[in-house]
């Protein structure tokens, strides 16, 4: 605990305020409804607000790195399912295979992250006890289950050439491609839901910067999923088959950046956690790498190396974006001003509205 000095006898919390910008709040000495002034000049200064010793009002998520990691791998899996199906239906077997295998790998990683983050991992199956539309996590669990049930067989079907030609297994070998196609299309149809429900997952909390960003988050995640899947494909597949990926990367980046820009400018005070501090750094880095990755994807059409580097950039960018969004939200939960300020404004607005009537 940092104790603020005794110099300022009245409402003095300025010293504490400076510390809290980057590190989260420190409770300060007196909770007389401590008044704080925002001294960050980036956005329009808000009115003074009061808090209980600078302590957070809501609880920040207890999730660790597993959840932003899952956001990344889940998006990657979803995007890759689309890539795989697209490759399958347009005669690009390398894309199909790369897509399906990336999907499986990302899906497995996703499952690991989700189970690992549970307080009681051995009870992960409790997620499927109920199906609750009011719980994005419940909906998402079922989406994930359905996706796994389709993307899994689709990926497994790629192993068909390993089977013998004759006998019952030979039958399986012959049926595999069609079964895989059906499964793959199924996965591709579920994929958009998988990529976007996570936006609702974060938004459906009291975390101010997530909740207010609910219009944008699904778009940001969708765009990021597409870009990351394109990036994976650019690494894995030969350049001849990757032209759709370049278009996909461009589209994904555009969607993502549009959403990010809106989040960083539309939300007033609640944009601040995304533009400052650690979250700000992560998101800016992600944006830069996205831009580089897209540029490289478009310009490095013929070079496997440039394509691969671009792909790596896009993958990294997607991860950074997820971690940045996550960190921004956590930040907005930890500092009470992000909860108190907008709510107080809302109340005042309602009261004024009532008076005018």
């Amino acid at each position: 605990m940092n104790a603020s000095g005794t110099g300022d006898q009245g409402r003095g919390t300025r010293g504490t305020r400076r510390e809290t910008q980057d590190q989260g709040t420190r409770p300060d000495r007196r909770g007389e409804g401590t008044r704080r002034e925002r001294r960050d000049a980036v956005v329009v200064p808000e009115a003074e607000f009061r808090s209980y010793y600078g302590r957070p009002i809501i609880k920040a998520p207890v999730w660790r790195y597993d959840i932003p990691a899952y956001l990344f791998t889940g998006g990657l899996a979803a995007g890759s399912a689309l890539v795989a199906a697209g490759g399958d239906l347009t005669g690009r077997p390398a894309l199909r295979r790369a897509g399906r295998l990336t999907t499986l790998a990302a899906l497995s990683a996703s499952t690991y992250f989700l189970i690992n983050d549970l307080g009681r991992p051995e009870r992960f199956h409790h997620m499927l006890r109920v199906a609750k539309p009011t719980s994005p996590m419940s909906v998402g669990s079922w989406i994930l289950a359905a996706f796994g049930a389709t993307a899994g067989p689709a990926a497994v079907s790629e192993l068909a050439p390993l089977l013998p030609r004759r006998g019952p297994l030979g039958l399986v070998r012959r049926l595999a491609p069609s079964a895989g196609r059906v499964a793959g299309i199924g996965a591709a149809m579920i994929a958009p839901a998988l990529a976007t429900y996570t936006g609702v997952l974060l938004a459906d909390t009291a975390v101010p910067s997530w909740h207010e960003a609910y219009p944008e988050l699904p778009f940001i995640f969708a765009g990021s999923a597409l870009a990351s899947a394109a990036g994976a494909g650019l690494i894995a597949a030969p350049v001849e088959q990757t032209s759709p990926l370049r278009r996909l990367a461009l589209a994904g980046a555009a969607i993502e950046l549009a959403g990010a820009h809106s989040v960083e400018t539309r939300l007033g005070l609640l944009s601040e956690p995304y533009t400052t501090g650690r979250a700000g750094r992560l998101l800016r880095a992600g944006r830069t790498l996205t831009a580089l990755g897209v540029a490289g994807a478009l310009l490095g059409r013929r070079s496997r190396v440039v394509s691969a580097l671009s792909g790596a950039a896009l993958l990294t960018a997607s991860a950074l974006t997820r971690f940045g969004i996550f960190a921004g939200g956590v930040r907005s939960a930890e500092d009470p001003k992000y909860t108190v300020g907008p709510q107080r404004n809302r109340l005042t607005g309602r009261e004024n509205g009532r008076e005018r009537r």
């Binding site: 605990m1 104790a3 603020s4 005794t6 006898q9 000495r29």
Partner: protein, 907 residues
Amino acid sequence: MPQQDLVNADCIVIQGSNMAECHPVGFQWVMEAKARGAKVIHIDPRFTRTSALADLYVPIRAGTDIAFLGGVINYILSNELDFREYVLAYTNAATILNEDFRDTEDLDGLFSGYSPKQRAYDPTSWRYQGRQQAASTEDATSEGMAIHRQTAAGLEQESHGPPVPALTERDETLQHPRCVYQILKRHFSRYTPEIVEQICGVPKKLFLEVCEAWTRNSGRDRTTALVYSVGWTQHTVGVQYIRAGAIIQLLLGNVGRPGGGVLALRGHASIQGSTDIPTLFNLLPGYLPMPHHAKHPTLEQWIGDIHQPGQKGFWANARAYAVSLLKAYWGEAATADNDYCYDYLPRLTGDHGTYRQVLNMIDGKIKGYFLLGQNPAVGSAHGKAQRLGMANLDWLVVRDLYLIESATFWKDGPEVATGEIVPTECRTEVFFLPAASHVEKEGTFTQTQRLLQWREKAVDPPGDCRSELWFFYHLGRIIKAKLAGSTLPRDRAILDLTWDYPTHGPHDEPSAEAVLKEINGYEVATGRPVPGFTELADDGSTACGCWIYSGVYADGVNQAARRKPRHEQDPVASEWGWAWPANRRLLYNRASADPAGRPWSDRKAYIWWDEEAGQWTGYDVPDFERTKPPDYRPPADAAGVEALAGDDAFIMQGDGKGWLYAPTGLVDGPLPTHYEPAESPVPNPLYGQHTNPTRMIYDRPDNQLNPAESEVFPYVFSAGRLTEHHTGGGMSRTVAYLSELQPEMFIEVSPQLAAERGLTHLGWAHVVTARAVVEGRVLITERLRPLRVEGRIIHQIWLPYHWGSQGLTTGDSANDLFGITLDPNVLIQESKVGTCDIRPGRRPTGPALLEYLADYRRRAGLDGASGPNGASRSSGRRRSGGRTDPGKPGRAAGTRRRGKNAGAEGE
């Protein structure tokens, strides 16, 4: 008064108490009163949880309450706001004093009769003028009063009137210059609002607000209740604090009335019981005094001293109470021929108070010590003396729920770190016996409103834990067995003790109910429980363990176990538990009716005379003979109970009146007088006499007090309680749920003091006095405010006293800071105010700590060194030149002895 009676108050003054903090459950009645519109006033050195719920908070300098209360008395008398009819009828306001009396106004802070040699008063000149003088007792000399002080005889007077003549001379017009009313007026005439501001640091406006609220809410239709606790008692003038409060309540006619009176909040759940059935050296059960070897060689002399011939009141039957007690102790062996074994009773030879004992332990005079549910290493003043004393015994038996600091001091007390106690060389053999908690045994609690409540046993105690009853019963049984067959006379006292309680269970637990029956009293021949103390006999036909409890087992029913819910009876709730005496809930309730027996007002009706039925009736048991009519006037030669008139509401006083002026019984004066605390940063602006001239002093090198107005110890400090912890901490710092609520020892300071001394919030600081250094974490708070006192800013510091070296949370013990100086009437230590210094950072450890303290003492002029003014000093003296203490005004300090133990000092 019972706590729930507070709901009837129109105004509640809480002073010397942090009621919400320390009696949170009782405080609900204050909240209920508030909900009904009562005004709550809290007067305290610091703004506490009580202040938070009060309507008015008054900050005051610790140790100056008499100045404040004197100011209120002055306000009442100057503006003639006293409840005149009540005052005339029920107090001694009209009584005329004899002409030899001199007041503090005449003698610059002393009353007539002071002997500097004895440091005590001869109270002869304080007496009433009257045809019948009290028979001269040895108390009526200064030597006698010195013994009175040693034996804390003031305690005996707690519930009965000291010797006075039954009929007194009175002036009903209250104009006679020597009537109590005029004496009172003169005595407090200089206690003006200006002086109150000067001494107490209370702004005039605030002080007057209190006066107005208090007087406005008193009278026929309205009553004000006064609540106090150890913030008043733990002072060298503690008894006089309470006297001052009582004077106000008598003047305003609040005593004995619903929502009025004085509520003494006691410190533990059953500590009232521990003075009723006492664990005090100078009392026997029911406040009978322990006999003194020189004053009471025979039974008759002893009883004659308890009750003077010609006095009024219920102490007239002292012989019955005393003989019944002796019969309870020695049963068949106690007969009229041997004065009921009176010679078996131990005798006092002087001061056997707990502090005297500890100092005697240090001096090697005491071999063994039983410590039962008490933790003096943390809870008593001058912790070092406590621990060094206990380290110099042959054996020590500690019974408690946990290994408290008083059992482990020899290995982890502060003196081990400094080298003053070496564990391998400490000669005390410590026996620790685990005790049963209160849910693991049955018995009664007697709590703050004299209410006995029986508790059932809920679970068996674990392992070797045993109840106190089991311990003492079997200890006595074994000692008796060991002494069996002895022919030594001195062993007869133990061998003849009745000790035949039935036991039960696998551990032979004695029956608590059997003990309660014995306490109630019974007819020896038949075993029938007596219905009350009026049926006790003085011829050995009854036995009774405690006469004031007589009635608790009336009709063979455990009255203390009654639990009729409050929804099924009136608010007085007489059928819940049993209160002594005789289940009277509000004492002196005769005063709730006027002299003619009618309630003063309908709104404040409580008991009244029913002419048709020929008896007193109302909401409570009348504290008066039920059938004595209000117009009864005793014959001229009546004595005892018969001498009480129909309007003598104060039935325990020798003259049947409430005492505004106390002609006898108190060591330090008939009227409260503002004296500074023994350690004070400022002079006494009212008198040359700085501190209480009769306070108990133990003048020795290991008990030095900070000199007055010392620049080395410029701050005032006090210690007190937190709700979350319990006394010495044995029952709270061992429990995680409580320890997490207040997890560390801390020190509260104002922001101004923090700035002055460079203290930071949650940083470390240490407080220094002549005795000890105590460290803690700093809590800067505006609930403590600097006060403007006598033209200076005085800073006050506050520490919780709960911490020690054992438990989940450990820390230094605040009471180590206090020295030992006591109220002369009851030998309670002054542990609510002292002077100190405070410095940032942790204290030194090891031998460096002793050097640090020695340096402080040197700089303050103690230990024989020169002080800042160049004059040699001893403990507690003022600087030379100017007015000094004690003795005649103008004498220099040099006449005081230094550092020697002297018999005249009460040692």
